[in-house]
């Protein structure tokens, strides 16, 4: 069950229909419920926007708490069957696309402190607070179930955004120091948990689960066009640049055949890179107050003129026209 499918099931119990969640996404429920379907970033931001319009505040926390590790399907059981909690990290790095993620995280331990920096995989706009709430709540739900850690909790939460009107729900759910308006979204945990033995370790099961995870990843990649697969990889690793030959290595084909296959799909590698970068830029324009210059650097254009020109060529509109009215002041016509 992909993440979007889970959301739909969850809000259905609260009287919000699949059609309402999927409004303006171009998706229908049958598509979303296919096992090999992975929603795109646009699908997510639109659908979560729909949910936030209709549901009660703090729904991210509720959904995270309603989630179970087994909702990850076979990937969840792979996590469960590891020897120690720290072994989960390897599985995450290998198979996290299977979780249809919105966020990624980088962690480091300093003595007894385990810091986890949380970053959006693509510009989430107002879905960002939702995604973080969900992520933290899932963590709180999962950890005491997979290992003997009844005392599991966060020591501190730092959030880059302002305290929402429902911030008392954060305090109630997370039960630790919560600081808003910080530079980075991150949480502090006790590093001791990394060394905990999990409740259900089994080498055999881990092996078969991993095979199955690999199979699903391969399945997804053979049913979706190569261009889409490359785009997903570029999105999930947006902070990095990949040359054509690096990408060919990752996909497991020769550079020649990569070029040829993309040509057959009517596109080129550089075009995919541009589309992903401009897609990010568009999200920033619509969902944030960042200036064009800031956005230009975030999406790695070397100068603002080039960036303006590329956006114009791609969308046919000027940057100012692309700003969504809810975020920026409407321009005089």
């Amino acid at each position: 069950m992909n993440r979007l499918h889970f959301y739909i099931n969850y809000v259905a119990e609260r009287g919000i229909s699949a059609a309402q969640v999927l409004a303006a996404t171009g998706l229908d429920f049958a598509t979303v419920s296919q096992p090999s379907f992975l929603p795109s970033p646009d699908h997510f931001t639109t659908a979560i926007g729909n949910i936030l319009d209709l549901a009660e505040p703090g729904i991210g926390i509720d959904m995270g708490m309603a989630w179970n590790i087994s909702d990850f399907g076979i990937f969840g059981y792979a996590l469960l069957s590891c020897e120690r909690f720290r072994d989960n990290k390897t599985l995450w790095s290998r198979y996290f696309p299977l979780t249809s993620p919105l966020l990624n995280w980088k962690d480091r331990t300093v003595g007894a402190d385990w810091w986890m920096d949380i970053n959006e995989l693509f510009p989430l706009g107002r879905a960002k607070a939702f995604a973080i709430e969900e992520h933290l709540a899932r963590y709180l739900k999962m950890c005491p179930v997979i290992m003997p850690a009844d005392d599991f909790g966060f020591r501190e939460i730092q959030l880059s955004y302002e305290a929402p009107p429902y911030s008392h729900l954060y305090e109630k759910a997370f039960n630790c120091a919560i600081r808003f308006n910080q530079k980075q979204d991150r949480v502090l945990l006790d590093a001791k948990y990394l060394h905990y033995r999990l409740n259900f370790p089994s080498e055999d099961v881990l092996k078969t689960c991993e095979q199955e995870c690999l199979r699903i990843l391969t399945d997804i990649s053979t049913t979706e066009p190569l261009s889409q697969r490359i785009k997903r990889h570029l999105i999930y690793n947006f902070e990095r640049n990949f040359t054509l030959s690096e990408m060919a290595d990752i996909i497991g084909v020769s550079t020649r055949s990569l070029r040829r296959q993309l040509q057959a799909e009517g596109t080129r590698y550089q075009q995919l890179i541009d589309e992903v970068r401009l897609g990010f830029a568009l999200k920033y324009l619509q969902n944030t107050d960042l200036t064009p210059k800031e956005i230009c650097y975030r999406v790695r254009y070397s100068n603002v003129c080039n960036f303006r020109r590329a956006m114009k060529a791609w969308t046919g509109k000027k940057l100012s026209e692309l700003r969504s009215p809810s975020v920026s002041q409407p321009l005089t016509e």
């Binding site: 179970n68 590790i69 087994s70 399907g73 059981y77 259900f200 089994s202």
Partner: protein
Amino acid sequence: MNRLHFYVNHMAERGIGAERILDNTGLHFDTISRPQFQPSPQQFSAALANLLRHAPEGIGIEAGQAWNISYFGVFGYALLSCKSLLDIRDLWVRYFPLTGSLLKFESRRVNDEWWIDLRENFPLGHARAFAVEEHVARILKTCPLILDARDFGIKEIQLSYEPPRYRHLYERSFGCAVKFNQRVDRVILDGKFLDCRLNFANEAVSKTYEQQCIHIVKSIFERESLEERVKRYLVEHYNERPTLPEMAKTVGLSPRAFRQQLKQAGSSFQKILDEVRLDVALQFLENTHLTPKEICYKVGYSNVSNFRRAMKSWTGKKLSDFRRPVAVA
């Protein structure tokens, strides 16, 4: 990890070496640690007798607590991914050979309670207390991990045997009323746990694991000869006494083909049946206080004279020669 391997490992941690547990079984540690290895009932009960001789009292409780559902591998995960305790029960019954269990569960709902009766799979004698202790400790260890219920506990335990010297360990470990000298071995749970959601439920995944279990069971059977398979079945169902056509059906053959295949292997259904009956009788003689008459009926002989004669011709000894002095003391 098969059950014997688990015990040997567990005892090794307590400083009791593998060779002492495997004494007189004809087995070596290398053999039992192979992934495909399954001990025969005879090997198993000999090892169990060694274990009980060397281990401290109440070792069953300790072994149950040290055990983990994930030691069942894929089968354990099939159980984990079930959506309720009732589904777990069904899988347990369906893939019983994978449990390697010494006891069978027969469970039923009685008003707002769930009664789980523990029945011997083959005559356990004084290993019975061990087997019961182990099962109860396993239930107490596993349920709180998999049930979405913080308050899990057993309501009452009824045991068919006399209170052992270490009964205080029962009270301490089981946290409920324990009644001895009852008619059956029974664990009583609050019925509400039957409707409880399981933490790791996922129907699709459970199906996948079940498929793999079918495959594993099949491969166990494929490695066994027909003779071994029939023997294993008869030992595990020694009180059912299937007829030849019934047995043929169980192993998926026509009565004709069944008879022929056994004949080719130099055996016959009657021969296997006799062997198993006498073997089970031997277990009863060595491990229980039952009289020859009682044993004779238990293993399906119509009269005691025939039984005595069969035992004599099979073993060359009289019934009384088998009585273990320790069992009587």
